[in-house]
């Protein structure tokens, strides 16, 4: 039967090799996930509610003007090597990120607005801001131990591979086989209490199917990022639980409305007709979101309207009946007819300015769901007389097209954090490029009203409900402008061996995910199943495999010998 390496080991399949164990440099999701289990942040997101909750900081206070934040460091917290955690540690970490460009590589954004960070005393940390910001409590950058890191001269060169790596989280890293696995051990002194699993292993797989097969065999305990088909086939399997989480990501496409720099210089070669909002809206109306949910996600997704996924109900927005741009081909055709888009001889419409509606569509080739949606899109847009040139390309080609504004439609999607500031920020006019090719958003969107609302929500750091209102209004603008078009919130599907893990924590709860949490909850709270499978280093599968190999080899030798015998018997020449 299923055999895990050790009964008290939680093995997680990962599909991406770790880039680096240096938390100042690590950028890949897998690395940051591991770091979350190793380094406690100042403030964490709560497992159930996604609300900020204390980690290294026990509590915090804000000055009236919102420019000075004072954090109280948790009492009695220690690093895994026994040293106490003091305010010096976060102060060192943030200062490093502020002063050293290399150290700013991964999380520099978090401190971009910091003026000073000081450790007032061992238990008090003070942060002075340049501007007030609503995101002060999403400070989940890893805090590193000063006593270890103060000796590091070059943050860019330091690999952080002196095992065990000193941390403050529920686990400590004890080993790293590049491109194979990362092993962690439980930190018995973790302030929330030691995790139940003694070992946590992240094992690298290059292939999704191999991961699932390994899960079936019990080689790994947890697999994330299942395809709908895989989820379906694992559903109901004995010893396996499938976790179908509501999406943290939205999927959609952006339309090039005519790219401009911040100074208003036009560039790129987007289709001119797309400057017309009517056309953009008509395109939206030609899309059957239910069809996408069904065909692309096998039902494991929600048709989407607003920009913030439904799992964040504080910010979730839906259009009203009259605002809705629902699937209706006739309506879409009517809109176009009225707006003067006449059908040409070949059935393709021509804009009032005489441009044939032939649009390029760029799709990431390494995202199967976008590829599938792209294919459907091509056929749907044909229904309203628009020809789409499907360019399913490497990410590099796609981003070139995006940054040079040499595109018409691009499929995209963002993973949305509990705090929506960043994803909203990329659609402000500020995000437009200063000169062609340097934009930081993913659409050339610029709307004054939207920008006003953005500033307002940022300033409303002390009034969450008011802030949510602003955020919803912003989403309405996005929806109506139809430049950034959200079509689905795809579920996150994961599976784990319920015969190895009896329970674990999703985030948010309920409906949340296990892997890639804003925190370490799924790992630190996982409980081993009773009577976990033991087994020495030679697992049952291995023994069977060796036996099989021996049989095959013996058979082959026997065959050859037999052949030889018969051959000599009739030794002809």
């Amino acid at each position: 039967e299923a055999a895990s390496p050790e009964g008290d080991t939680l093995t997680v399949a990962i599909s991406q090799p770790v880039d680096t164990l240096n938390p100042f440099l690590a950028q890949l999701l897998i690395s940051t996930s591991i770091h979350k289990a190793v380094y406690e942040p100042l403030v964490a997101y709560d497992a159930e509610t996604n609300e900020p909750t204390g980690a290294v900081a026990e509590s915090w206070e804000t000055s009236e003007d919102g420019l000075t934040w004072t954090f109280t460091i948790r009492e009695g917290m220690t690093w895994s090597d026994g040293e106490p955690v003091t305010a010096e540690d976060p102060a060192f970490t943030y200062n490093a990120m502020m002063e050293d460009e290399e150290a700013a590589t991964a999380n520099g954004n978090a401190v971009a607005n910091f003026e000073t960070v000081t450790a007032v005393d061992d238990s008090t940390l003070r942060i002075e801001l340049e501007e007030p910001q609503a995101t002060m409590l999403s400070l989940d950058a890893p805090i590193v131990p000063e006593h270890v890191w103060s000796g590091v001269d070059d943050f860019g060169d330091f690999t952080n591979e002196d095992f065990p790596i000193v941390g403050s989280g529920p686990f400590t890293i004890t080993g790293h086989e590049p491109n194979q696995s990362i092993t962690l051990e439980a930190n018995p002194d973790y302030w929330r209490g030691a995790p139940e699993f003694e070992n946590l292993v992240f094992r690298y797989f290059a292939d999704k199917d191999a991961e699932v097969e390994a899960l079936r065999k019990g080689e790994v305990s947890m697999v994330a990022g299942l395809t709908p088909a895989q989820a379906d086939s694992l559903e109901g399997q004995e010893g396996i639980s499938v976790n179908n989480a509501t999406g943290k990501r939205f999927q959609g496409f952006t339309i090039n409305p005519g790219a401009e720099t911040q100074d208003g210089e036009e560039f790129g070669d987007g289709h001119p007709a797309l400057e017309d909002k009517t056309l953009r809206q008509a395109i939206m109306r030609a899309i059957d979101k239910d069809e996408l949910v069904e065909k692309v996600y096998g039902g494991y997704a929600e048709p989407a309207e607003g920009y913030i996924p439904a799992r964040y109900d504080r910010y979730y927005w839906e259009p009203s009946e009259e605002e809705r741009l629902d699937f209706d081909v006739d309506a879409a055709n009517e809109m176009l007819d009225e707006a003067g888009y006449k059908e040409g001889d070949d059935g393709i419409r021509v804009s009032p300015d005489g441009d044939r509606l032939e649009l390029r569509m760029h799709v990431h080739n390494d995202r199967p769901d976008y590829v599938a949606m792209g294919k459907i899109f091509v056929e749907r847009l044909a229904d309203i007389g628009i020809e789409v040139d499907n360019q399913t390309v490497d990410p590099g080609v796609l981003s070139d097209a995006l940054y040079d504004a040499e595109y018409d439609l691009i499929w995209t999607g963002w993973s949305v954090n509990p705090d929506p500031d960043y994803v909203l920020g990329i659609h402000t006019c500020d995000a437009l490029p200063e000169e062609p090719g340097t934009m930081r958003g993913d659409a050339y969107f610029c709307d004054e009203q939207y920008d006003e609302l953005y500033d307002k929500q940022l300033a409303a750091w002390d009034d969450p409900d008011q802030r949510a209102e602003y955020v919803k209004d912003m989403q309405q603008i996005l929806y109506e402008e139809a430049v950034v078009n959200v079509v689905t919130y795809a579920n996150t599907m994961e599976a784990y061996r319920s015969d190895q893990i009896s329970s674990t924590q999703v985030q948010p709860d309920p409906g949340g995910n296990l892997f890639g949490q804003d925190g370490h909850w799924s790992f630190s709270t996982a409980v081993p199943a009773e009577g976990g499978q033991g087994g020495g280093s030679l697992s049952g599968g291995m023994i069977a495999g060796i036996a099989g190999a021996v049989v095959v080899v013996a058979g082959a030798i026997g065959f050859l010998v037999w052949r030889r015998r018969t051959a000599t018997a009739e030794d002809r020449e």
Binding site: R216, L226, A229, S233, G298, N365, P368, K375, T392, D394
Partner: protein
């Protein structure tokens, strides 16, 4: 032409027919070759006639007649894919692209390789050195890598795949053709042609080319097999043309859907088998041709 001319032409035709008959008879003695030929004929016929018995509309992602991942049934012999399209229909249809790519890519590379090989072999001296250096240089480049890079740079289309394969596969042909050219050039009839006053072009066209043709032909068939596998590899790596249906493309779809680990074998196995079968058929034909053209391989003590 004078009076006996037509009779000579008629005779010539008779001879050609007889030669073909002879060729066919020799070929027919190779059972594997016959099998390959039959399989190829079937594949080619399928590719040509696919539009007759498959409704292109049913191959549209929005027009799939079945449900999502239906297992094989009376209606869908090989089940359906994520869009409810019949996998059988897709595999049959995929023969069009795969065979086209295979043939054209092989043609491109064989044409390149043959021209370069003959020139290098015929002229010798520094032109040969230069050409062979270039060939060697191409030969050491990891072809998959170069093909991947080319396919990534150029616009995503079937033509790209053809070019990528064609450009990376020719050096082998060039070497083979050059070797063959050298051996042909060493034969006395080349000297006779020169002694008769024939120039370079005459020798290359009338003597070398016909004599390297068998090798080239056999090489082509073998290369087609290679090109088909290469096409599937590139498509599998996501470098194919998404708007067409090819075997490699189906495999990639199947893989990205996680078909293998989901027990949806009917999505994964048929295109792979189709690739293997067609590649095998070409290889068998190529070997049979080699055998026909090179009697030494055929009958040996």
């Amino acid at each position: 032409m004078s009076a006996p001319a037509p009779s000579r032409r008629a005779l010539l035709w008779a001879r050609r027919r007889a030669a073909w008959g002879e060729f066919a008879r020799t070929y027919a003695q190779n059972r594997a070759g016959l099998f390959g030929l039959a399989a190829l004929a079937a594949a080619a016929l399928t590719a040509l006639c696919a539009p007759l018995f498959i409704d292109a509309g049913e191959l549209a992602v929005t027009g799939g007649p079945g449900g999502r991942f239906e297992p094989p049934s009376g209606e869908f012999w090989l089940g359906t894919d994520a869009f409810g399209r019949s996998v059988l229909a897709m595999v049959l249809w995929g023969a069009r692209i795969s065979l086209t790519v295979g043939f054209l890519a092989a043609f491109v590379s064989v044409a390149l390789g043959t021209v370069i090989g003959i020139i290098a072999g015929h002229f010798g001296g520094w032109p040969s050195d230069v050409l062979m250096r270039v060939t060697d240089w191409f030969l050491v480049l990891p072809s998959l890598v170069v093909a991947v890079a080319l396919a990534a740079v150029l616009e995503r289309s079937t033509l790209t795949i053809i070019v990528a394969i064609g450009v990376t596969a020719w050096p082998a042909t060039a070497r083979v053709v050059r070797a063959q050219t050298l051996s042909v050039e060493a034969r006395p009839f080349i000297e006779r042609a020169r002694a008769l006053g024939g120039g370079h072009l005459h020798v290359m066209k009338r003597h070398v080319l016909p004599n390297v043709m068998p090798v080239v032909l056999a090489q082509t068939t073998l290369l087609v097999a290679e090109a088909i596998v290469m096409e599937s590899t590139l498509s599998f790596l996501g470098l194919g043309d998404p708007s067409t249906i090819s075997w490699g493309g189906i495999l990639q779809d199947a893989r990205s859907a996680g078909a293998i680990s989901s027990g949806i074998w009917w999505y994964m196995v048929p295109p792979g088998l189709a690739i293997a079968l067609v590649a095998l058929s070409f290889t068998l034909c190529g070997r049979a041709l080699e055998g026909v053209f090179n009697p030494r391989l055929r009958e040996r003590r």
